[in-house]
Symmetry: C2
Subunit: 130 residues, 2 copies
């Protein structure tokens, strides 16, 4: 099992190698919501917390003024990523979580902030053969 070393605690949190991976294609989003690096990082970190996931690290890269952003939040329970195309009003997000973290809660927050006109969701179960 994957063990989280928690500061100040001898107990380790164990996550089985099974999880849910949500791929969300979000269309019809206002361009200004898709080009602000700091705002998107803040949103994705908040969505991880809403999903009861533990953030280990995040890094967001902006391609330039008014241009797209690519970013990742690494979690003890896996990751959330987003790639945006403000010129197309499109964002591709993915939310992969194991353990007790719930990707649907992260997605709800992301959608409520970005207000896409359309969302296409593809969900995959991840893990070793059963």
């Amino acid at each position: 099992m994957k063990r989280e070393a928690l500061p100040g605690s001898a107990a380790a949190v164990v996550h089985a190698p099974t999880g849910v991976h949500v791929l969300a294609d979000l269309s019809g989003i206002a361009a200004e919501k898709l080009s602000d690096c700091a705002q998107l990082e803040s949103l994705l970190r908040a969505s991880a917390e809403a999903a009861h996931a533990r953030v280990l690290f995040s890094h967001f890269h902006g391609f330039g003024e008014g241009q797209g952003v690519t970013g990742v939040v690494l979690l003890a329970e896996s990751h959330i990523t987003i790639h945006t195309w403000p010129e197309c009003g499109f964002a591709a997000a993915d939310i992969f979580m194991c353990g007790n973290a719930d990707p649907k809660l992260a997605l709800t927050l992301i959608e409520s902030a970005l207000q896409p006109e359309a969302t296409h969701i593809h969900t995959a179960r991840r893990g070793p053969p059963r």
Copy 2:
């Protein structure tokens, strides 16, 4: 279109918001291949280059001696991530690429290095509604 600002060049590389996302569940891998943070980072960066993708940034987190690793390589063309469970011989990799980058070339290198006994692949097309 997402534009890459290339150093020393006024021309921008444009990637349409359509891509291929490969989710690879790799089982039966020797534990020592799944707990070396630096080695896994090196492998995923090399796999990005093999796929003709441009690496923007990478970050890998080890959970402790002999324990799993979680990491990401952010690309101009999206990302590659991996999460490992050495105690289970399992790794969950995902490779999302747009433009001319080819996820299959990245996956080939990852599989040849990790030598899984079994691989389960799930592929999704990403992008706005057509």
